[in-house]
Amino acid sequence: MSLIEIRGLTHVYSQGTPFEKTAIEDLDLTIESGQTVALIGHTGSGKSTLISHLNALLKPTAGTVLLDGEDIYASKAAIRQARFRVGVVFQYPEYQLFEQTVFADIAYGPKNLKLPQPEIDRRVRQAAGFVGLGEELFAQSPLELSGGQKRRAAIAGVLAMEPELLVLDEPTAGLDPAGREDLLEKLFAWRQARSATILLVTHDMSIANRCQRLLVMADGHIVMDGTPQQVFSREEQLVSIGLDLPAAARIARLLRQRGVSLPPAIYTTQQLGDAILALWGKGDGAC
């Protein structure tokens, strides 16, 4: 059974005013439980609007969002349920920190869930563990943490709610490469451990190609949907909507344009290396 099912979703901002803008139009999407999905697209393609519907922050102009087959807008209780079952980490989540201590901040979500204190404790510790925040930081003010630590504390605040679907909007923006790698690994490890579902909104193709499924959005529609292999093999279309290819795919494309015969759908450095070495080994490459 699909975890999320979106049918005919349309969202129009400021309807009925001169500033009217259609952000999403008649969009259908299903997300299966346990997948890691990447959502890529230009600024203004409707990604953020889409994810704000997954936990009922925005009301659709038309269409429905089903969570486990049930309409998340059906009632106030259903909306609340959706907020707890779908965790959303927005861009630059560190700006939402507000409590006096790191512990209390991570505990904010579980507290809103009205869980008993021991359970809150357990969840906070576990979430902090997942993102690699040591217990020695628990008593500190979240505002005193370093940038990377703040980001992880904010993400832990959502993890502690133990959502079934975790949505992250550009979770690695502004982090250095090592921090980015580290955070991604932690998120993927969390998903494995909890057998949850992850939806990553990203601009970074090297992140996108590590997910099982790739959604490409443009102008309020999902224009491509498939495995990274399928999506990245449609290079020309990606380029035409102005999206980047992963570095490896770009190199492969340039090599092909110069007449080097490389196999199709190369999008990781590993594949590129293998392909070039294979040519090298045969000795008929142009390099």
Binding site: N55, L57, F90, Q96
Partner: protein, 268 residues
Amino acid sequence: MLKDITLGQYFPGDTPVHRLDPRTKLILTFVYIVAVFLVGSWGGYGLVIAALAAVTAVSRIRPKALLRGMKPLIFIIIFTAVLNLFFTPGEDYLFRWRFIKITYTGVDRAISMVLRVMLLVSGTFLLTYTTSPLAITDGLERLLSPLKKLHVPVYEFSLMMCIALRFIPLLIEETDRIMSAQKARGADLETGTLPERARALLPLLIPLFVSSFRRADELALAMECRCYNGGEGRTRMKQLHMAWQDGAAFLLGALLVAGILLLRRLGI
């Protein structure tokens, strides 16, 4: 959504009223306010209403917008009317029942007070509808610049106003974002008792404060990096120029005041 709140209420346009120098408009608004208080006859009110209607028509502001601006003031308007209606002393009773008395003078005064308030409000609204907040600050700064001689930091005040105006939409956006983030963590801003709801605002206000300080810090740094060191000797990108239209506007303003005084004299 918060985004839909209009602030500053400026309706961009390119009409003779929009093109007037902001200083002219500020002075004329002031003159207009004084004029409304000078009115001493029904004819005078007629003249002011005609003038207001003319400016509204020229500036292509929909009368509806002016009325909408009065919505928050409805209470004050009603209050003024009731107060004047029932508590004006006099003997020329229109209606009398036990302790409730309404006099003709009272009716007279109630209508003229309500008219006065509405005229004052719509006049100042016309100013903000046709002049961008930045132009108003600019104009104010120039008008107040003689106060510099008295060591009033006019330039700093206008800079503060500019920055405040610039940051309002940013803060609204930021509030929206933080609200979404906290709602995503299960914050409940809509239900609960009053103290509960007040407490529920903390997760909103604290990050907002923190980010405002951060923004202020960044802005100060950016200004310093560009060698900003106060108002002395700074030139401006948009020079204010008085043109013949401004002269004409002043003339019309003077005519309005003269007309009101004349009608008052004649008692029409």
